[in-house]
């Protein structure tokens, strides 16, 4: 089985204003897959569709090889989910929540749960409602990890948490991946965190997938070029032209932001009588911003 999550021609609509028209997504097994996008882009909705909490209007969803939402009971036994908002009962204690969860998952790893209670410094007798935001997040992650699933789906797991808690959570996730070879699907807008950890990344905006690529390709393929003498029309470039504007301070050249860049593509410019003065590396956050900008301009023009 090559894909842990496979979405094909997914169509979903909620109300008049929000629509996911046609989504194709493939999360390779064993990967750490980052799902980026601004607020309101449809990330949480996509996750809910994947987990069977929402039903699509049309299209195919397969999680761990099984169709969703038809086989949700079987699939969810192998999926650990951490939602954006704490979803556990505030009147139960940490210990009670752990015991409750353990009863539902045949693969529950009691030793790992205990180890994480210690590592996360959680007190078994504290009520969930009384825990701090960071402790709640840690408990939800603990439950997802102790379930020993083959897939972890995390919706903004470290958002709003202090750096110490974020480190603890990331370390625990990475340890889990090293030991079990699970697939992790993380949606986040903390680009820098995803940058260290993900080997695949997808960007979503306004219900559409802008790009889905291996992290290295997206990160190192996005460059800022200083170009002089380029013609007005760009015909069939080997790279993906994201934005193009004149240089600051009235300098002679233009600033181009391109994607899918590879070394040697400078020959294209020579072919059209232009020249590339400089190739500047962009980190993932800059690349992400430029991608969004070009995508939105493209949609506005239409």
């Amino acid at each position: 089985m090559s894909d842990a999550i496979h979405l094909e021609r997914l169509h979903y609509r909620a109300g008049k204003n929000f629509e996911i028209p046609n989504l194709d997504l493939h999360v390779p097994s064993g990967s750490i897959y980052g799902f980026l996008g601004p607020n309101g882009s449809g990330k949480t909705t996509t996750i809910r569709l994947i987990l069977g909490l929402l039903r699509p209007l049309s299209g195919r969803i397969a999680v761990l090889g099984l169709p969703m939402p038809e086989q949700h009971a079987q699939v969810l036994g192998r999926v650990g989910y951490v939602p954006e908002q704490p979803h556990l009962d505030a009147t139960l204690t940490v210990r009670e929540l752990i015991d409750f969860q353990a009863a539902f998952y045949p693969r529950w790893d009691r030793a790992r749960a205990e180890e994480l209670v210690g590592r996360f410094e959680l007190d078994g007798d504290h009520l969930f409602g009384r825990l701090s935001k960071g402790q709640k997040a840690k408990l939800m992650i603990l439950l997802a990890l102790a379930q020993c699933g083959d897939l972890l789906v995390l919706d903004e797991p470290t958002d709003g948490l202090d750096p110490v808690v974020r480190r603890d959570i990331l370390s625990a996730l990475i340890t889990y991946v090293s030991e079990r070879g699970a697939t992790i699907f993380i949606s986040s807008h903390l680009v820098h965190e995803l940058e260290r950890v993900c080997d695949w990344v997808a960007v979503m905006d306004e219900g559409r997938l802008i790009t889905e690529a291996p992290m290295e390709k997206l990160k190192h393929g996005t460059k800022r070029l200083v170009v002089t003498g380029a013609p007005a029309e760009v015909v069939n470039p080997p790279f993906r032209l994201l934005t193009r504007e004149s240089a600051n301070g009235g300098g002679p050249g233009e600033n181009w932001v391109v994607g899918d860049w590879e070394a040697g593509m400078t020959s294209y410019f020579e072919g059209v009588g232009a020249s590339v003065r400089d190739v500047i590396d962009l980190d993932l956050e800059d690349g992400f911003v430029e991608l969004l900008r070009s995508f939105r301009e493209g949609r506005a023009r239409r």
Partner: protein
């Protein structure tokens, strides 16, 4: 399955233990209170009438208690899930119908306590009372009727409560509409008694809700 049921039972117990305890105490007390007059030695026919009146008037508390227990247990079963918008329950590896059934069963197991309390309380009341001649005691029939009433009330309110907020809203909306129409009709002096009609249809007609109407007599002729 057993582990899942135990887990659900534990959480439901935690949410509803106050209701169960209070309900059990009340269920135990009502039969004893209804027969408190019968502990006195000298009894004749007029005392029998008095006793029957006391039993009947205390007896009106049984359907009220059954309804209250059914309603509160149904709410307690679902309120925490509603608060979390059911996300936790829906992402557990169980079919929805199985989960709903487990919750229903757990609530019913907990309701065994007040039902048993009615049986024990009424048996105890009958044992310690001296009944005037011509009167019989029906503790078991009473307890069984109470059990049935509790079951019906719990089932009805559970069904409403387990639905989405939209379903609950629809039910409440229908009730509110009935009341509104009734009020308008009485203002316009139109002779329309919807509440009575509803009562007749729901409670007096043949059907499970009929268990609530009529007299609840621990002791009768």
């Amino acid at each position: 399955m057993r582990a899942m049921f135990r887990a659900i039972l534990h959480s439901q117990w935690k949410w509803s233990r106050l209701i169960v305890v209070l309900g059990t105490v009340a269920a135990f007390a009502i039969p004893l209170l209804s027969l408190q007059g019968a502990a006195r030695a000298d009894r004749g026919a007029p005392q029998a009438q008095e006793l029957l009146r006391a039993v009947q008037s205390w007896g009106t508390l049984y359907p009220l208690l059954a309804t209250a227990l059914g309603l509160l247990m149904a709410i307690a079963a679902w309120a925490p899930d509603h608060r979390g918008r059911h996300i936790h329950a829906l992402t557990l590896p169980v079919e929805r119908w199985r989960y709903v059934l487990l919750r229903f069963g757990a609530g019913f197991v907990l309701l065994a306590a007040p039902i048993a309390a009615v049986l024990i309380g009424s048996s105890l009341a009958v044992l310690t009372a001296t009944l005037p001649p011509g009167l019989q005691a029906y503790p078991i029939a009473l307890a069984m009727r109470f059990a049935f009433a509790v079951f019906v009330a719990y089932a009805v309110f559970f069904a409403v409560s387990a639905g989405t907020a939209r379903t609950a809203g629809i039910v409440l909306g229908v009730i509110a509409a009935l009341i509104l129409v009734q009020v308008v009709a009485s203002i316009a002096s139109i002779d329309l008694n919807l509440v009575n009609a509803a009562q007749t249809v729901l409670l007096l007609g043949p059907g499970p809700l009929a268990v609530f109407s009529g007299r609840w007599m621990l002791v009768d002729v």
